[in-house]
Symmetry: C2
Amino acid sequence: MFNEAKNWFKLLRDDLVKNTQVFEKKSFIEKRWKHHDEGGGLMTKIKGNVIEKGGINISTVSGKFNEKMQKNVLGASEDPTFSATGISVVFHPMSPHIPSMHFNTRYLTTTKSWFGGGMDLTPCLDFDNESQIFHKELEDICNRYNDDYYPKYKKWCDEYFYLKHRKEPRGIGGIFFDHLNSGNQENDFEFVKDVGKFFLKHAIYLINKDKDRAWTSREKDVQLIKRGRYVEFNLLYDRGTKFGLETGGNTEAILMSMPPIANWE
Amino acid sequence: MFNEAKNWFKLLRDDLVKNTQVFEKKSFIEKRWKHHDEGGGLMTKIKGNVIEKGGINISTVSGKFNEKMQKNVLGASEDPTFSATGISVVFHPMSPHIPSMHFNTRYLTTTKSWFGGGMDLTPCLDFDNESQIFHKELEDICNRYNDDYYPKYKKWCDEYFYLKHRKEPRGIGGIFFDHLNSGNQENDFEFVKDVGKFFLKHAIYLINKDKDRAWTSREKDVQLIKRGRYVEFNLLYDRGTKFGLETGGNTEAILMSMPPIANWE
């Protein structure tokens, strides 16, 4: 399953690059990096005319968790050996009409094994109609597997992407899941693939729909403030960012999620 | 001493506003806020042509520390009652030739009492010569009180304003001190006043020297990246910011330190 997941994340990465390259004429910046334990990753950075800044990271690493991590990670207290493979994507579009988009999925093995991941959108202008479409499609995907998934994963997402100090959500949410092991890993993997395929399809749909639509400088200003909030979330709360930076991960790969130009009033 | 310190911080605040208002033609935004325990503060926000964004905050609050704070704050384990009064200033100038400037001083009482504070500069372009002048002046002030202060407070500053994940300092440092109680509080207060007066004088000097000097868009770009690092420091490491946000402080006052437009490549 580990290699199947790893290979599929690579295919999804290639598909994302290929589909994004259709409207971005510039070539993307690719950078391979090595993990201090074992393994490494491939960062792909987009600095485009449609996606003002985007990052697509895939990585596969293995090693032994330190003591703190052994206590915190499922199944690691008995044996600190772990392997992890995943894909992580963030798009910050140029147009304030297109939301920032975030997606990731991963497969982890310790003495246990599971999938985790999710996706969410951060629009800065009116998005009511598109928000309904997005949530409905996620609900339909979830319901193909388990009726409990959608309410549980939506709630998890809403609770996770929340800026307590602002008393406001980061965006409109989506789904967020972890420790997914239903007992049928082939089936779990199908769910994870469906989530990934939906992100690809829906990201391209949202981009194509609005990439040529005009915006005002006032609308752009609203976007820059919203991006400031995005920065606040990632640096103050995001577990992956904090964990990565604290454990000496690749700073460039971790902070690829940061937006371009952001503003604080 | 508490009231003396409080009154002097208010006078310094008024002097800073008056001296800044000379080159900023717009009026500043003033906002009074109340602390959830007792007391409150006055925020003054500058959105100018010379200081692109600046904040001058004074506050005086009192109350009882929660259990966590009782353990962490000097003299609070015996009795949780505290009073604090302080001034905090951040200037993010428009010109990339002028460094971002940060200064604060405070007086705290629990079962003990002490002064704390510091100042530091964050230039983004060549600053070698000015850096020497700045450090030398701080050294002279410190040496008027105690020969140990400057080496100790400079080191403290360098260690504090360091971005571990980037392996780089936030700026060129300055001084940073806490729990200052030499046994002669009148003398400590004179030191704190000298630090404050120097900040006022030197900030105005640095601004006047370069506010009309031309810069290139490339130099401005360097500044925006440097400001991104400033954001990273404040949200990832700054104890005041984290403490304030976690304990339900005034978000607007706490995040007044954030720069305007910042960039992540």
